[in-house]
């Protein structure tokens, strides 16, 4: 039986396998023939496939264990190593990553991954610097400096995962700054931090989408902006819930302009149904929390009412999203 190459390819293979299984489930194709059909379509590995599998498995495992052994060896000798050797090791790895990126070019995937690896190693270099010179600096400074140093590479690489790392570092710097500097002096409550994080990330999301709408090609093909929006929405929801249950302060009112801005931007500017769904879910959680706090939670019977409220709100949100989706489909 000749093996076919036409059926190969990950997504095509999955579809074909699913179709063959559906044919078996509906009785069109006898069950005992599904295996042969999958082999005929090249969707089951043959001897060559298995040899390749073991090749890669042993190669990958062997290389990983060997590298781990080398790293452990350096870890064992770390304290005895001179400071220049320590710096040289990390800088050599960074240089190798950058050279590989330069050689392959930043338009290739390997080049982009290499520059990303180099950007990650910048953090390792800063950590070694802090360890060697015992600067005593707060850790928020390390992450902030790290973000600043790799910002240029992120612009050059035009690689969404690297931008996501940059956004992550900015978030970590902000949160550590809060813990180590702001809280130590002013003692504000945690809800203010989440409001700050939510606002910063919403701004990043809007900037990301605006650049995408202005034709930055590499941004238009990625959906990482939604990850930032999801993080912003999550922090905003957490802020609202904390204010409702713990602080009972006026800060919770800041939730309204925050979700309002996110909703308005996603509805009017980007027509992003995923972000609209996130905002609606956040609103359901916040509204339910407010209802529980105002109407009380000591009487178990009230939870029946709260449950029905959530059911109604979810159904309404889903119906609204479907309607918006249909309207946009008709009038793009």
């Amino acid at each position: 039986m000749r093996r076919s190459q036409e059926c190969s390819g990950a997504s095509a293979g999955g579809r074909i396998a699913g179709l063959l299984i559906r044919l078996a489930e509906t009785g069109v194709l006898p069950e005992e023939d599904v295996s042969r059909a999958l082999v005929a379509c090249g969707l089951r590995p043959d001897t060559v496939g298995w040899r390749r599998f073991f090749d890669r498995l042993f190669l990958l495992l062997g290389t990983t264990l060997l590298l781990a052994g080398i790293i452990f060896f350096f870890a064992y000798n770390w304290d005895e190593m001179g400071k220049f050797v320590k710096f040289a090791l990390v800088q050599a790895a960074m240089l190798a990553a950058v050279l590989l990126a330069w050689q392959k070019g930043l338009d290739t995937l390997l080049g982009k991954i290499s520059i990303t690896a180099g950007a990650v190693l910048v953090g390792a270099l800063l950590a070694v610097y802090g360890q060697v010179y015992q600067t005593g600096a707060d850790s928020w400074g390390l992450f902030f400096t790290w973000a600043l140093l790799i910002a240029g590479w992120a612009v050059l690489a035009r690689f969404a995962p690297l931008w996501l790392i940059l956004v992550g570092l900015a978030n970590v710097s902000l949160m550590l700054y809060w813990e180590q500097i702001v809280r130590a002096v002013h003692r504000p409550d945690g809800a203010l931090l989440y409001l700050a994080v939510a606002t910063v990330n919403l701004s990043i999301y809007i900037a990301w989408e605006e650049l995408s709408l202005r034709g930055l090609g590499w941004l238009t093909t990625s959906r990482y902006g939604v990850v930032v929006a999801a993080w912003s929405t999550g922090c905003g929801t957490l802020m609202a819930v904390m204010e409702i249950f713990d602080n009972h302060g006026g800060l919770g009112l800041a939730y309204l302009p925050l979700v309002g801005a996110a909703f308005a931007y996603a509805y009017l500017r980007t027509r992003d149904l995923v972000v609209l769904a996130l905002v609606m879910l956040s609103s359901i959680v916040a509204a339910t929390s407010l209802m529980i706090e105002v109407m009380g939670w000591r009487d178990e019977f009230m939870f029946l009412f709260y449950g029905l409220f959530v059911v109604g709100m979810t159904a309404a949100a889903a119906a609204l999203l479907r309607r918006i989706s249909r309207v946009w489909a008709v009038a793009p």
């Binding site: 059926c7 095509a12 044919l23 059909a37 040899r51 090749d55 452990f72 009230m302 059911v311």
Partner: protein, 361 residues
């Protein structure tokens, strides 16, 4: 699916002699039949799922709060819990398309199981009896509800309940047997034909794999922790030996399906290699277990299963080397030596394995 692609598939299947005589038109028609069901986009489904679970949690608080404070009779708890489970299974069975309702029923069903287990345990006076009852209920829910997420969760909950029953009975050997049973279950689910063909059983296959890895995770715990029973040895060699046998059988079966006898050199080398691994890592059955699942995932070209296996292989390998009672220098030597051995093995296998032509079934 495009007409050209559909015709090509039918040609390939016909050339392979797989299609029954005269069925090409039927197959073409079945492949071209568009699914007329309207599917909600994934973000609406996610919103419905989140809302359903939130609502179910609130209903459960009402349900449990008012019931448990007012009614102390365990028989009532048991009966009510069973009724809730039955009702949720019925909803999932008759309304499989209603996403919100199905998720809501699923969440309530879990609450019903808790209530049932609570009542049963109270009635029997034994924790392990409640755990066994939960196992039975979940096993029954799989064919009753016929819902994929329910199937997945039921397998995991049933396995977890069995494990807690063994813990309550302080029967260490039982944990080894449970691990082996789950390994057998994973192999049966992914290797035997009738299972993988039926789509609704695939979640059971994933559930078995997750439960299998979950139980094997216990081998990562220090022996001095919860599984030191009355001075019993907390050794995993039984599981490791059993998994080595299972892995060997699977390898021989797959090799056989490709036209290679078990006495062929590459197969013997692989069996020997796995045997050496079993001996050196006799208290870390997770490594063999992950390799077994990885092989099954590759055989079925199932990326999710393979991905899970790769993830857990990394976890088990890391834990194995972490727990070695050696200095950092000795560990670095052990790691480097293991890596070198594997690379040598890869080289030897390349020398002894067949050349690049396919083996036709």
């Amino acid at each position: 699916m495009s007409g050209v692609a559909r015709d090509r598939i039918v040609e390939i299947l016909a050339a392979a002699g797989v299609l029954p005589a005269g069925s090409e038109a039927t197959v073409r028609s079945a492949l071209s039949g568009d699914d007329t069901r309207e599917h909600s986009p994934w973000y609406i489904q996610a919103l419905l799922v989140a809302g359903a679970w939130l609502a179910a949690i609130l209903f459960t608080v009402f349900f449990f709060g008012s019931l448990l404070s007012g009614v102390k009779n365990p028989m009532v708890h048991l009966t009510l819990g069973l009724s809730v489970c039955g009702g949720s299974a019925w909803i999932m069975r008759v309304k499989p398309e209603a996403r919100f309702l199905v998720q809501f029923a699923l969440a309530l069903g879990i609450a019903g199981q808790l209530l049932f287990g609570y009542g049963f345990g109270d009635l029997a006076g034994e924790f392990f009896a409640a755990a066994l009852a939960v196992t039975v209920i979940n096993t029954a829910l799989i064919p009753l509800a016929r819902q994929r997420l329910q199937t997945f969760l039921s397998v995991i909950i049933a396995s977890g309940a069995l494990l807690t029953a063994l813990w309550d009975l302080k029967w260490w050997m039982g944990t080894n047997l449970l691990a082996l049973l789950l390994g057998l279950g994973v192999t049966a689910a992914w290797e035997l034909k009738p299972w993988y063909v039926r789509r609704q059983w695939r979640p059971a296959g994933y559930g078995l794999a997750m439960s299998f890895f979950g139980v094997l995770h216990l081998s990562l715990l220090p022996a001095s922790d919860i599984f030191r029973y009355r001075g019993q040895e907390t050794s995993w060699w039984i599981t490791t030996t059993g998994l080595w046998v299972l892995l060997a059988l699977v390898m021989v079966r797959i090799a056989g399906s490709l036209g290679h006898g078990w006495k062929s050199r590459p197969v013997l080398m692989l069996l020997a290699g796995v045997g050496v691994l079993a001996v050196t890592a006799h208290n870390s059955p997770g490594i063999l277990g992950a390799l077994l699942v990885l092989g099954l995932g590759y055989q079925r070209r199932d990326r999710l299963l393979s991905g899970l296996a790769v993830l857990f292989l990394a976890v088990f390998l890391s834990a194995y080397y972490y727990h070695l009672e050696l200095t950092l220098l000795e560990k670095s030597a052990a790691l480097a030596a293991s890596g070198a051995v594997l690379l040598l093995f890869a080289f030897l296998l390349k020398k002894t394995a067949p050349t690049g032509e396919s083996v036709h079934a």
